[in-house]
Symmetry: C2
Subunit: 224 residues, 2 copies
DNA sequence: CAGGAAAACTGTACGGTGTAAAGTACAACC
DNA sequence: GGTTGTACTTTACACCGTACAGTTTTCCTG
């Protein structure tokens, strides 16, 4: 008379993939935070320590989650022009990090790259190499592009709640004003004349900076 | 009768500044991690809860630590040419983040900017505005530059131990090779022909990307 | 089919974290 | 002297990751 057929949990109910999917789902719901092992286990109808049968430790779980995010990023099609490829993957990466803001602070710090991560970097590199970039030029380009995309994602994720502009922005600006309006005249200026303007959305800056970077790459491609 | 504090841990031995200085020092020693409230208190010869008399909570302490890092960043001198100013502050910011790697993941996520932080941003903005950038152009430039500098710092901080190149790099490359040498040909190529070459140091990429960005700003300055 | 080994999951526990709440000692002012 | 306020301590709670030692369940072998 084992009392509960209610909450499933057959022996083989768990798996690396299911755990990762649940973890990503919970992190997405929570916004910026990865769930604790106990909460994650509870969601899966299991005790916390059961997770450790599929992951050596939490770090390994985070590695898997990050790899799942990389897997969502669209890669340049083989043979496509480098500029299109780079724009596609940069936009897609930003979108993925927007969907999974908890991943922004994790993408870089993972030491053990998963296969989706490696495939990702290999594809980006390949797109550049096959369209005329030297090895060194591709290295410069990747460093620059990754820095820009990650850095932008971080700043975007740090915005007060959403990047659509509006009341949050005004609240922030009001806070700055309150502290010292005249002490920081240029901050005040940009707040009033730029960030608080009706159609403003910080996200629009992404394409502007990206185009500038891509232009620079184009100009240096031959010399590098 | 102006008695001096005879006992080591006199009543007024603690202060906001001393706590912050100790916290930054401990974080620097530890490398990537901010100390716990208990460890920090122990270092200060005090119990953990004493800290809460000077900071509302740990987040406020982190705000203060980040502001201290911003205070270390050199600002463009008033009236200096924008390109020099931007190069100075970008390099100085990267250096500061190199000295305080624990700050890299914190700079952005702080909601309450301190006065050094506000002064920093105001000075950078001012340098651009006074040298011919429009409000919008300055906004584009700041977004781009900050994204690049933060993003680069993050990637640099995530490198296995130090950015000087050498054995760590080879170990990493060996790991990739072990996983799938021929599956990721471009990764293999760049590892062998670029990253593992004797004089290589990832830090050198910083100036390359920065110059490209500054060139782009120069080119767009009038149009923005 | 028996039985044993391996795999999957649980129970309990430990040392760590941030911090709420209440208590204690001391300084300064009425 | 008494009051009040400040600086600090004590204690406690809820939560975290995870080591370690069970307890099943499954599956392979004889």
């Amino acid at each position: 008379m084992t009392d509960e057929p209610a909450t499933t949990s057959a022996r083989g109910s768990l798996s690396r993939e299911k755990v990762l999917a649940a973890a990503v789902g919970m992190a997405d719901e929570a916004g910026g935070a990865v769930p604790s092992t106990r909460k994650l286990a509870e969601r899966l109808g299991v005790r916390a320590m059961a997770l450790y049968h599929h992951f050596k430790n939490k770090d390994e779980l985070l590695d898997g989650m990050v790899d799942l995010v990389f897997a969502e990023v669209e890669l340049p099609e083989p043979g496509s022009p480098w500029r299109e490829g780079m724009r596609l993957r940069a936009g897609s990466m930003r979108a993925a990090l927007g969907r999974h803001p908890w991943a922004v602070g994790l993408m870089d710090s993972r030491l053990n790259a998963g296969t989706a991560t490696l495939r990702h970097h290999d594809a980006v590199l390949g797109c550049l190499r096959e369209d005329g970039f030297s090895v060194a030029g591709a290295a410069h380009s990747i460093s620059l592009l990754d820095s820009y995309v990650y850095g932008f994602a971080i700043q975007e994720a740090a915005l007060p709640f959403d990047a659509a502009g509006g009341d949050d922005m005004e609240a922030l600006a009001a806070g700055i004003m309150a502290q010292a309006a005249e002490a920081f005249p240029y901050l005040a200026e940009i707040a009033v004349e730029h960030a608080m303007r009706p159609g403003y959305a910080y996200g629009d800056e992404f394409a502007i900076g990206l185009d500038l970077v891509l232009d620079g790459m184009e100009r240096n491609r031959a010399a590098w």
